[in-house]
């Protein structure tokens, strides 16, 4: 009798434990057949999406937006995308509004291929929400046969010798940035005195320039006309121009370029976060990053991809500028509402001055 109860004292808990630790069947989650990527048009080669589908069985739908405002509007509306490409000014905005999910780096080991210099940047400390996949510069696309001496500086836009022969995009933030840089100030200056000086200088630019229709894909058409000497633009304008005419060149002005970057993010309401991370990891694979560069002629921060990039792209300063051309470069930061208002007011005066 007593020996039985002793036995029970030891055996019963053991039995209970044994019952409790029986393995539970793993929950079955069906693989999603489709991820939705939301990006600029023409910035994601279809071959990459196909390759991903072939490897994983996951289709990627490529939804395009016209501009970042549209992308942000859809994000704010809570539309379900799985991967959204945002530029460096909109990443912190989206983070601040709680629109983005934290990336789980256990699923993105290929992040290690991103060059250390392109990680942990101020617009997303610790890469908590975003990973840069493309970057580039802003510069001057110049008709070498229509200038009198080499163009090296943003200040050359004000050269009266080229009055009426300079095309600018009607983007007030860019034009303010260029003017601030030409004065040696920071792109993101909030100093009222510097801003006032920049405004005066910007207004003085009006007689020298004409405006490019912003619905044009590139400003190359203007460069092909019979008088334009230069336009401000980006590496893809420069490449397009170079394909059409030998006598064009891309200049990164010595005061410093305006850097831009495109970053992959996952919206907080993505229904397939793990698969989206799998896709991002795929994009960061050196061979895939190299494919992107080779097809799009846009620089990638992926260092391990360099050996796989065509040498004519890697050595092309339009795509991969020399280090010394970048040291003065800056990214846009989020500017205060007050500064933005000042930009807009000045821009109105700028436009009015041309009428």
């Amino acid at each position: 009798m007593w020996s039985k109860s002793i036995l029970f004292m030891f055996v019963a808990p053991a039995l209970l434990l044994a019952c409790a630790s029986q393995p539970q069947p793993a929950p079955i989650s069906p693989l999603p057949q489709r991820l939705v990527l939301y990006d600029w048009a023409g910035y994601m080669p279809q071959s990459i999406l196909d390759a991903f589908a072939e490897e994983t069985g996951i289709q990627v739908e490529y939804a395009v937006y016209a501009d970042q405002d549209e992308a942000m509007a859809h994000l704010r509306a809570g539309d379900a995308y799985d991967i959204v490409v945002l530029d460096n000014t909109n990443v912190p905005l989206a983070v601040g509004e709680g629109l983005l999910a934290q990336l789980d780096y256990e699923n993105i080991p290929n992040f290690r291929y991103v060059s250390s210099g392109f990680r942990d940047l101020a617009y997303d400390p610790g890469n908590t929400y975003s990973i840069m996949i493309q970057w580039g510069t802003t510069g001057l696309v110049v008709r070498t046969d229509r200038i009198e001496e080499p163009i090296t500086s943003w200040a050359d836009l004000w050269d009266p010798r080229y009055a009426g022969k300079i095309g600018i995009w009607p983007y007030p933030v860019d034009m303010f940035g260029i003017t601030l840089k030409s004065l040696g100030y920071s792109l993101n200056s909030q100093d009222p005195e510097e801003l006032a000086k920049a405004a005066d200088k910007l207004l003085a630019l009006r007689p020298n320039v004409f405006l490019i229709d912003p619905t044009l894909a590139t400003g190359v058409a203007h460069l092909m006309d019979d008088q334009t000497a230069m336009i401000y633009g980006w590496s893809y304008d420069a490449r397009e121009a170079a394909l059409q005419l030998d006598t064009t060149t891309y200049v990164i002005p010595r005061e410093g370029t305006i850097l831009w970057s495109d970053n992959v993010t996952i919206p907080v309401n993505s229904p397939h976060k793990a698969e989206a991370e799998q896709f991002i990891n795929f994009l960061l694979r050196p061979d895939i990053s190299a494919t992107m560069v080779n097809e799009l002629w846009v620089a990638s921060p992926n260092e391990a991809a360099w050996p796989l990039i065509q040498s004519d792209i890697l050595n092309n300063p339009t795509v991969y500028p020399a280090n010394e051309d970048l040291t003065q470069g800056e990214f846009y930061e989020v500017i205060s509402a007050e500064t933005e208002r000042f930009y807009q007011q000045t821009w109105k005066r700028f436009l009015a001055a041309g009428e």
């Binding site: 992040f111 290690r112 250390s116 210099g117 990680r119 942990d120 940047l121 280090n323």
Partner: protein, 1050 residues
């Protein structure tokens, strides 16, 4: 027995000792471990401090010689030979330019293209130390970046090989299972003895103990928990000072409790051995003292059991045992006596037996009859036990038919019945049977697995029978198969559900459709109205008229369909408010006057003056019913008149009554209705016959809607009619009285004598009734074509007459001539004239007419207007021609309020995303003389509204990005604390109930339903712009004259 007690006592002691030992052991062990953890944290802090010191020493170097810092940094790196983990040092200035750098292996930091954009630079240049996350380089090397502020806002940064730190952490082991690792404040593991843990970007963040610790401000925490790897551990968390890092040291609890477990085992084994020995010793003692005497007693008892009462027991034993034996012997003696008594009674019982036998035979016959009933009926009878599993004790033979199992099967096992009940029904059954003791009877319906293998529905009634002691004996019940009935019920329920679903879908569909149709209709209605105001030739004008008429008809149908679907879906809510029933009715009459007059019909309204002035009800819905009934009357009447009567039947209109039962009648001289036609009148989509449809149009919904609305308001509706006798449509509604006082404070006309010459007798009655109620003496005279003759006649009849009311109706060919005549007549010239005119045939101003003392009142006559006009004509000084003509100087289509003093129109902000609607509204507003600013969405609306000053904002509610409600809320929030309040009027395409409430709740002031009618728009804009403009309505005087004065040519 005794041995068992000993063993248990010892066992309890053993467990107690073990627990005490365990606790002591644990306390010591925890303290020991906490101390170890602290020392580990100190080591780690020291390592980081050393690195920081290195950076600091770089920052204080003289920087005048650019070579110097580089040289010094190289020295620092080489000296450390990797033990410091620093593989690269860079010195940068406040602009992010690299002033110098040194490295082992290959450069990383100094290669960075965009130093100023990095977090390490921005953090340190702002004056704060920085430690990055663990990063993994391309070659798999783990590193982190440390940066400290340097001189002149410069920065010194180091690239630190994490492997050194990992090694340090890996060396810190405690006992067999102890481990130390470092996490950052978000739980990411930065250093761990197992590098793969770090490289997998492991985060322990979901762990609750960690979350609690990071939220608290404590520097240290310890406790027992299940760690990230699922081990039960005792852990210590310590913040590493000067960093966002936390060192965690953990030891498995199993290791800590091992010594205590060993002690417990030893104790238990020794207790077991001791117990064995004790038992052996005590067993032989007990055999002699206790067991043997007891065996003797047992033998005696067995003898008694066999009936040998004469034999007593001889027991030798202890004192207690002896006592038991004596008691035993006494009991045997008593049993012996009783046995003989029983033997004597047996003889008498035998005599009773034959009597009982007879009774039994009779009972069996009765039972056989019962049995027959039970067997032949469709009901299965059973008896069963009361307690679970309610084992059956009997089933009637016909149970086979009900259950599909033979009686033998049914009785086969006690739980047969329970086991064959549908599992879903079992709890219900058990619950029901539980109530049986309380209720005595239960009835239940359940599914039973029939012998054919399908579940069939059984209806069962069960009654509880008690035995003679009042205990529960058994249950007896009956069962019947009700599967067919259940199926029918279920089908009915499904059909009912489907019908409800279909009805709801229909209503939703209708609401959606009407919404979708309204938006394009806006374009059609708005544009055709605008088109009509342009110069058109006759053909074009006709086309436009047809478009307008068609659009109107379509809109009416849509509205009707929507209303009907809302009523049928039960979603039509009345919106009661205080209102003037007189004004509401007169408005309806005004609205329909033109169409009546166009057809040559006379339309009048007669509202009993004693009706309460203000009542409580839904004026919009009442108006809808008024409009429908009156509109119908006008539509179907070709000649004659349509009269609107409103009164309160005398029995309910008594003073002091809380609710007045208002009766509203429309009397026409139309074709009248037959009995069969009347029966079909109030049915939806029913026109009296197809010829009517062609002739009059409409979907035949109006009366159906009216009927439902009136019923919704608690009233009745009906019609009195005979063919060729005209019709009287009537309805009554009970309306709570708010105020009985007279609505408008009319100027005192008491004592005035007035002559009234009005052709239509009913209208004449109305005028007389209105005037008499106001204290005026009225003399009615027959109205002939000759105004003068009439007037003179009137004058003759009553020489005291001080005013003349004349009918200027269609039959009067030259109204100006008539007035001229009156004025020329010496007897009548001085008399004030009130002319009753039709809107279509107003008397035009003419220089030859002396307008003094002449006032027109247009039909249908409003009581208040009539009294005011009479007062004006009789008492007011003659109006000067200049004022009277003033309105002619103005384009009548331009609203008065649109012009402010400086002649510049106020600007209205139009917020509308749909381009068509935008264009329509802008052109309508232009037409009304307003200038317009346009915002295409809510966000732009907010910007524009806050920058500019607008007299009014017209706000679409459904827009992308930011809808109208939200935009309004933002604007209102921005206005908070300011005196400014821009009126905001919503434009909504979904005229569903509740929209108004939502608009007002969002801070809007009013709302317009799309499609926008230019007239609605005009009155809405006038209303709100006049409220806000500082000088108020432009000229109240002029507006008033414009209404009752003589209109000039133009």
């Amino acid at each position: 027995m005794l041995g068992g007690t000993f063993v248990l006592t010892f066992l309890a002691m053993a467990i107690g000792v073990t627990i005490i030992m365990y606790n002591v052991e644990q306390t010591i062990w925890r303290e020991q471990h906490t101390e170890d953890a602290r020392s580990a944290a100190r080591t780690l802090t020291l390592f980081l401090d050393r690195a920081r010191n290195t950076l600091f020493s770089v920052s204080i170097q003289d920087r005048d010689d650019p070579g110097e810092p580089t040289e010094f940094m190289q020295l620092l790196i080489d000296q450390g030979e990797g033990s410091s983990g620093i593989f690269e040092l860079v010195l940068v200035d406040a602009d992010g330019h690299i002033l110098g750098s040194a490295f082992r292996g290959h450069p990383e930091l100094s290669r960075s293209l965009i130093v100023p954009q990095t977090v390490w630079f921005q953090t340190a240049t702002a004056g704060t130390d920085y430690l990055s996350m663990v990063q993994v380089a391309q070659d798999g090397l783990p590193y982190l970046i440390m940066a400290t502020p340097g001189r002149d806002h410069g920065v010194v940064a180091a690239w630190i090989d994490m492997r050194i730190l990992w090694q340090l952490v890996g060396d810190m082991s405690f006992g067999r299972t102890g481990q130390t690792y470092i996490v950052n404040d978000r739980g990411r593991i930065l250093a761990h003895a197992d590098p793969s843990v770090v490289l997998a970007n492991t985060s322990i963040d979901p762990q609750p103990e960690f979350a609690t610790f990071t939220q608290a401000a404590d520097a240290e925490w310890n406790g027992t928990y299940r760690n990230f790897w699922g081990d039960r551990v005792f852990g210590v968390m310590i913040r590493l000072s000067g960093t966002p890092w936390i060192a965690i040291t953990e030891v498995q609890v199993a290791e800590a409790t091992r010594p205590a477990q060993v002690v417990l085992l030893v104790m238990v084994v020794s207790v077991l051995v001791f117990g064995m020995v004790t038992r052996l010793v005590t067993a032989s003692l007990l055999e002699r003292m206790l067991f043997r005497p007891l065996q003797q007693l047992q033998a005696g008892a067995e003898q008694v059991g066999k009936g040998h009462f004469e034999q007593s027991v001889d027991v030798r034993g202890g004192h207690e045992i002896g006592q038991v034996a004596d008691a035993f012997n006494a009991m045997i003696a008593r049993l012996h006596d009783r046995d003989s008594q029983i033997a004597s009674r047996t003889a008498s019982l035998a005599a009773e037996f034959s009597e009982r036998k007879r009774a039994q035979i009779e009972m069996e016959a009765a039972q056989a009859r019962l049995q027959h009933l039970v067997t032949e009926s469709r009901v299965a009878i059973f008896s069963a036990e009361v307690e679970p599993p309610y084992a059956a004790t009997y089933y009637s033979p016909n149970s086979l038919a009900v259950f599909g199992h033979s009686v033998d099967e049914l009785l086969e096992s006690p739980d047969f019945w329970v086991n064959h009940i549908h599992p879903d029904d079992r709890p219900m059954i058990e619950l029901a049977i539980e109530t049986l003791p309380a209720t005595g009877v239960v009835t239940m319906e359940y599914r039973f697995l029939h012998g054919s293998g399908v579940y069939r529905w059984i209806h069962e009634q069960m009654r509880l029978f008690r035995n003679e002691n009042g205990g529960h004996a058994e249950t007896i019940g009956s069962c019947i198969d009700i599967t067919d009935r259940k199926q029918t019920e279920e089908e009915l329920s499904i059909a009912h559900h489907q019908a409800l679903q279909a009805s709801r879908l229909k209503s939703e569909f209708l609401a959606t459709m009407s919404h979708e149709i309204r938006t394009p209709m806006n374009g059609i209605v708005g544009m055709s109205e605008l088109l009509a105001t342009t110069t058109l030739n006759a053909d074009q004008q006709e086309c436009v008229d047809i478009i307008e008429a068609s659009a109107d008809a379509l809109l009416t149908i849509i509205n009707d369909v929507l209303d009907l679907s809302k009523i049928e879906a039960g979603s039509m809510d009345l919106q009661p408010e205080d209102f003037s029933i007189e004004a509401t009715t007169e408005d309806v009459a005004d609205l329909l006057a033109i169409s009546a007059h166009r057809k040559g019909l006379s339309l009048y309204s007669h509202i009993t003056p004693t009706l309460p002035a203000i009542v409580h009800g839904d004026p919009i819905r009442l108006r809808q019913v008024f409009l429908n009934l009156t509109g119908n009357a006008i539509k179907f009447t070709e000649h004659g008149e349509v009269g609107i009567h409103m009164y309160a039947p005398s029995d309910t209109a008594a003073e002091g009554q809380e609710t007045v039962n208002v009766r509203f009648e429309v009397r026409d001289t139309g074709p009248g209705l037959s009995k069969t036609e009347i029966d079909r009148l109030f049915v939806p989509f029913t026109q009296l016959d197809s010829s009517h449809t062609r002739k009059y149009g409409g979907a035949g919904l109006g009366l159906a809607i009216s009927k439902r609305l009136v019923e919704l308001m608690g009233g009745e509706i009906g019609v009195i009619s005979q063919p060729d006798q005209g019709s009287t449509f009537w309805f009554t509604v009970p309306l709570p009285v708010v105020s009985r006082a007279c609505a408008s404070s009319t100027p005192s006309l008491v004592g005035l004598h007035v002559l009234c010459a009005v052709r239509n007798p009913a209208e004449c009655d109305t005028v007389c009734a209105y005037l008499t109620a106001a204290g005026v003496h009225v003399t009615c005279i027959a109205h002939g074509d000759d105004v003068i003759a009439n007037a003179q006649q009137a004058r003759r009849i009553n020489p005291q007459v001080s005013a003349l009311i004349l009918d200027m109706d269609i039959q009067c060919p030259d109204k100006q001539a008539a007035i001229r005549e009156v004025r020329r007549n010496p007897q009548l010239a001085h008399l004030p004239l009130v002319l009753l005119t039709n809107l279509l045939h107003r008397v035009k101003a003419d220089a030859t007419i002396d307008r003094r003392g002449v006032i027109q009142v247009h039909r249908p006559v409003h009581r208040a207007q009539l009294l005011q006009a009479l007062a004006g004509a009789a008492y007011r000084p003659p109006v000067t021609p200049a004022t009277a003509i003033a309105p002619a100087a103005v384009d009548p289509t331009v609203t008065a309020a649109a012009r402010s003093e400086n002649g510049k129109a106020p600007t209205i902000l139009l917020v509308e995303d749909n381009l068509v609607n935008q264009k329509v509204a802008v052109r309508q507003l232009q037409k009304l003389g307003y200038s317009t600013a346009v915002a295409a969405n809510g966000r732009k609306a907010v910007e524009t509204a806050l920058q500019g000053s607008y007299a009014l904002i017209l706000m679409d509610v459904q827009m992308p990005e930011l809808d109208g409600y939200e935009a309004t809320r933002i604007i209102r929030a921005a206005e908070h604390g300011m005196t400014r309040h821009v009126p905001i009027v919503a434009m909504t395409a979904n005229a569903m109930e509740g929209d108004r409430g939502i608009c007002l709740a969002a801070g809007m002031d009013d709302y317009l339903s799309k499609p926008l009618r230019i007239d609605d728009l005009r009155s809405m804009v006038e209303r709100w712009t006049s409220l806000t403009s500082s000088d108020g309505p432009v000229d109240a005087e002029m507006v008033q004259h414009g209404k009752s004065g003589i209109e000039s040519d133009g």
